[in-house]
């Protein structure tokens, strides 16, 4: 059985936030809820990297462990989903999650947070596949349609990979093998030609 995973290639992510937008639009997510976000590390310093992050569908998921009503479950594909009908909005999953994945639709004075919402790997929830109830609570169930998560499908540089762990780790491994070093890591070779190729402008010409 496939084990679904996300992988974000920090060398490729260009912080376009396309994944964030794709996710919001695919599931019609309300304002204030961000199932996915892009974090830029060392912003403005040479060598800055961006990484897109959402629920990582952990094997030993902290949210699952701390939930007082045990509303989380794991699908046979390793996707961590939750039942909003059981969720009491206590916020414990939000305390425990390393990635800040659990989101709440309300501001929360007196602890009124509403039902937790998070990335479903585009796999819906416990309701019948493609039902209206499922769409309203969890968004589109793309996996049941035979599609992969919208964020990864939409990624313009294919930095964000989502799917069967064996497949996406092969893709990533191939990239690392072929990436080379120095300026090639950045893909300059593709954009500006190989370093040993003839320069576009002859030496001495005015630029």
């Amino acid at each position: 059985m496939a084990r679904m995973k996300f992988l974000c290639d920090a060398e490729r992510c260009i912080e376009c936030n396309g994944c964030v937008t794709a996710c919001k639009q695919e599931h019609e997510i309300p304002w204030g809820v961000n199932r996915r976000r892009v974090v830029t590390l060392n912003d403005g310093v040479p060598g800055e990297k961006s990484i897109s992050v959402a629920c990582m569908h952990c094997s030993d998921a902290p949210c699952m462990a701390v939930c007082p009503v045990d509303c989380f479950y794991k699908t046979s594909e390793g996707i961590v989903l939750h039942d909003k009908d059981l969720c009491i909005g206590c916020g414990y999953c939000f305390y425990a999650c390393p990635f800040g994945a659990p989101q709440f639709p309300q501001d929360g004075a007196f602890g009124l947070r509403g039902k937790m919402d998070k990335c479903t790997f585009c796999a819906g929830g416990p309701e019948t596949d493609h039902s209206e109830a499922e769409y309203k609570k969890y968004g589109r169930n793309r996996l049941a349609e035979g599609k992969l998560p919208a964020c990864a499908e939409m990624c313009s540089t294919k930095a964000l990979l989502g799917g069967d762990a064996d497949v996406i780790s092969d893709i990533y491994r191939n990239r690392v093998m072929k990436r080379g070093k120095g300026s090639e890591v950045w893909g300059w070779g593709t954009a500006y030609g190989k370093p040993d190729a003839k320069p576009a402008t002859p030496p001495g010409a005015k630029s």
Binding site: A10, E11, E15, N17, V20, G32, N34, R37, V38, V39, T40, L41, N42, D43, V45, P46, G47, K49, I51, V53, P62, A65, V66, C67, P68, V69, D70, C71, D83, D85, L86, C87, I88, G89, C90, G91, F94, Y95, A96, C97, P98, F99, G100, F104, D107, G108, A109, F110, G111, L112, R113, R179, K181, G182, S183, V185
Partner: protein, 352 residues
């Protein structure tokens, strides 16, 4: 407790607890690691070790998504919280269970503590209306908070397997909302209680003797060690349970109750641990107080219910205070005008 348990389980746990409480609430990139990463990029392209170290420590970065701590890629303290909480709440649960068992055993062995002489029917107004209103508001709110808190803490293991997911979720949602909305009642009545009761809970004569003799619990005569209006046991409860734990619970609870103040996760995790520890100890202590105030001692419940106690009860349990009342030096007086219904209730409470 074996040494390996101390070394392998307890010490790392304490270490994490200390780390959870004392590490700064948020880190910012000071730039030094960013520079290190920039240099590393020159010599070893593709080696992002300095950057990943920042990530692992939960350093604040940059994001376009607005919200609390959305700029933190990974928060490390969540894992500490997850590790620390279960053993602490288990220990608290065992402590409370032990207290209930001990009280049950004590009741079987000793039965209710009665009075040695028959009631005279002469009543003393022991508690003013303000004191009773405050006491019962706090008492009822604490009971609701304790029961709902225990449901949230242990229901997953003790109730859910019995009543099932749907019903337990409904119960837990009710418990959470009751907990959150009864909490302000406790929050505002606690200072009132402290102000009203502090005067007679200050140290007084007889306190040390009462403490050393356990209130005369094991004395051969079976008589209680003389005490003022409140005995040393009640004073310990007042200072430790009401003043110290009560305030700690109010503060830590408020931190979690208002996530709309945009506090970070780390302070809420620390508040949660403090709240669990404080609440478990409070329930432990309160169970002794509730025992002695209900089935454990005759006439005590009626005293707080009606405000009146029999002369004999006062002499038996608070002799120094009774002497003061008799001498007219106490703020409480004999009440000859007590209604007949109250007289019947107080007399009934003293009966074996």
């Amino acid at each position: 407790m074996s040494r390996s348990f101390l070394r392998d389980r307890l010490m790392p746990l304490l270490g994490m607890l200390v780390a959870l409480v004392f590490t700064p609430a948020s880190y910012s990139a000071d730039g030094s690691r960013a520079q290190e990463q920039a240099q590393r990029q020159q010599t070893q392209p593709g080696n992002n070790a300095p950057m990943w170290r920042d990530v692992r420590e939960g350093v604040n970065q940059t994001t376009q998504v607005r919200g609390v701590e959305t700029n933190v890629l990974m928060q490390p303290s969540g894992q500490s919280w997850r590790e620390v909480r279960p053993p602490i709440s288990l220990a608290g649960g065992l402590l409370i269970a032990a207290a209930l068992l001990a009280l049950f055993a004590f009741y079987q062995w000793r039965g209710p503590i009665g009075v040695h002489e028959a009631g005279t029917g002469k009543l003393i107004k022991r508690f003013s209306d303000a004191e009773r209103l405050t006491h019962w508001t706090v008492a009822i709110s604490v009971c609701i908070l304790a029961v709902t808190g225990l449901i949230i803490s242990f229901g997953k293991y003790m109730l859910l397997p019995i009543i099932g997911y749907t019903l337990f979720s409904w119960l837990a949602a009710l418990a959470k909302n009751l907990h959150n909305f009864v909490a302000p009642v406790f929050f505002f009545m606690l200072p009132v209680m402290i102000v009203l009761f502090v005067r007679d809970n200050l140290p007084g004569p007889g306190d040390l003797k009462w403490l050393l003799t356990f209130g005369g619990l094991f004395s051969k005569s079976g008589h209680e060690t003389p005490s003022g209006r409140f005995n040393m046991g009640e004073k310990v409860l007042f200072w430790f349970m009401v003043c110290a734990l009560g305030v700690v619970l109010c503060v830590s609870g408020t931190v979690m109750l208002f996530p709309n103040f945009d506090q970070g996760r780390q302070i809420m995790q620390a508040a949660n641990i403090v709240h669990v520890v404080g609440a478990m100890v409070m329930i432990f202590l309160a169970s002794f107080h509730i025992y002695l105030g209900t089935v454990g001692a005759r006439g005590a419940y009626e005293g707080m219910r009606t405000g009146y106690v029999d002369e004999t009860w006062a002499k038996e349990h608070h002799q120094l205070w009774y002497d003061q009342v008799k001498a007219g030096k106490a703020r409480q007086h004999f009440a000859d005008d007590a209604p007949d219904a109250v007289r019947a209730q107080v007399a009934n409470g003293l009966k074996a």
